[in-house]
């Protein structure tokens, strides 16, 4: 009887610990924000060409990533070998057999409360929804980059493409989001509005008459409200 009770207690403990344990994919998502972390093996002879290609891409608005509306931050990095030239590094030092391409993205999906079926929402279909978007919005850039990787099927076959990159996703253990559930578009509009208010203040800083100040504000502020 005592053994049965002990087993029951152990079972309860295991269930409690299991419930708190991070499940697959759980840590990559925080609200409507998501951390994409892809690691794909690069053909050794292509590593330098790939790195050169990535370094030659346009920056900012000229980056192919600027065509992806939900992406706040992203990076590409070719890892040719791990760094072990520091005190206390393990012996023997860990060595990679292949170079790897790291691609990370921090994105926030739009609020899709209006989409009735939960499973149809962009955020619920991540990372696949984002991978489909990569394929449809910047296919030639994607092919020019992942074309250097081992086993890459190309963007021609949507299912194979998404499967390849989804298999390359490494789940995040802890994801910090500085401004939760705010999309890129919302950040940009908020910044623009704040800038417009500050510009107005700068233009009218010498105005001492409250009545004239109010008049100017009522005249100008409607022109910046559409971006609010």
């Amino acid at each position: 009887m005592r053994t049965v009770k002990r087993l029951a207690v152990l079972h309860d403990v295991a269930r409690t610990v299991g419930a708190a344990w991070p499940t697959r994919g759980g840590g990559s998502r925080s609200g409507r924000s998501y951390a994409v972390t892809l690691l794909t093996p690069v053909r050794p002879e292509s590593a330098h060409d790939l790195a050169a290609h990535l370094r030659g891409l346009g920056r900012g608005e000229d980056s192919p990533l600027a065509k992806l509306p939900y992406v706040h931050f992203a990076r590409w990095l070719v890892i040719e070998q791990l760094k072990t030239d520091w005190p206390g590094a393990p012996v023997p030092p860990p060595r990679l057999q292949s170079p790897y391409l790291l691609f990370t993205v921090s994105l926030t999906a739009p609020d899709e409360e209006h989409v009735r079926r939960r499973e149809d929402r962009y955020v619920e279909r991540l990372p696949e929804s984002f991978l489909h978007e990569l394929r449809s919005r910047i296919p030639s850039d994607v092919d020019a980059i992942w074309g250097h990787c081992v086993g890459y099927p190309g963007t021609g076959d949507a299912e194979a493409f998404v499967h390849y990159l989804a298999q390359s996703q490494i789940e995040t253990a802890l994801f910090h989001v500085g401004y939760p559930d705010v999309t890129v578009d919302e950040v940009r509009r908020a910044l623009r509005l704040r800038e417009q208010l500050i510009d107005f203040a700068r233009d009218h800083q010498d105005e001492r008459d409250p009545s004239r100040l109010q008049q100017a504000y009522l005249q100008e502020s409607p022109t910046w409200l559409p971006s609010s």
Binding site: T37, R55, F73, L82, P94, Q97, P210
Partner: protein, 222 residues
């Protein structure tokens, strides 16, 4: 190569995109700019090998517990939230490399990957991490080989530098903005909307008083 990034400096305004600010990380690969920076945004990418579970403080097992607690502690109570210069950050435990038919890469020692998108300089960033998240840093990187502890800060900076990678392409959707500017702008939306609705109905003196209040709020971070 475009240089359409935003102004420079941790929180100031003015300047152009790709020019590094004083104290910025120098490019190790001969590029004419710091590839870990675009506008005010900076990228940090660090990989460190994790000790086995039987070596204190417990390898990946210990990391899992730390991250589970980290995920449970969110909102204002989270210490990382106090570090107001971080846009997005993540910790990833790599226990296997995705298999696409390349030569097998057995991961004898799991890797801990840390990535951050922040504004300010590398030194400011590590200083704040070390002094504010002292215990958190020890709990996380204490499982990695060679971690000297977050304090004193110089060996810790050397450790991070030793494990840090320079990115090949970095993208920010709003390179001119710091996290403080963004949070301030987001917080301004509602009061400004409410003010605009009432602006026409206020008498001029009331209007001027409320306008000044609003402006103070908008300029908090300037």
């Amino acid at each position: 190569m475009s240089s359409s990034g935003g102004p420079q400096g941790p929180d100031g305004e003015g300047g152009t995109g790709d020019r590094p600010e004083p104290g910025a990380t120098r490019p190790p690969d001969g590029r004419g700019y710091d590839a870990n920076q675009f506008g005010r945004a900076r990228a940090m990418t660090v990989f460190s090998p994790v000790r086995p579970w039987y070596r204190p403080p417990g390898g990946v097992l210990s990391l899992r517990v730390v991250f589970t607690v980290g995920r449970a502690v969110t909102g204002g109570k989270s210490k990382i939230r106090q570090l107001s210069f971080i846009h997005f950050a993540r910790w990833v435990i790599i226990r296997r490399f995705p298999d696409h038919g390349q030569p097998r890469d057995p991961v004898r020692r799991p890797l801990l990957m840390f990535e951050s998108n922040y504004n300010g300089t590398f030194d400011q960033y590590i200083d704040a991490f070390s002094y504010i998240l002292t215990r958190g840093m020890t709990a996380i990187w204490g499982t990695s080989y060679g971690f000297p502890g977050p304090l004193p800060v110089t060996p810790f900076k050397r450790y991070i530098r030793g494990n840090e990678f320079t990115v090949d392409h970095y993208y920010s959707a709003y390179p001119a903005a710091t996290t403080t500017m963004i949070k301030s702008a987001l917080a301004l939306r509602e009061p400004l909307r409410a003010f605009n609705l009432r602006a026409a109905t206020l008498d001029p003196t009331q209007f001027a008083a409320e306008y000044r209040k609003l402006l103070t709020r908008a300029q908090d971070d300037l």
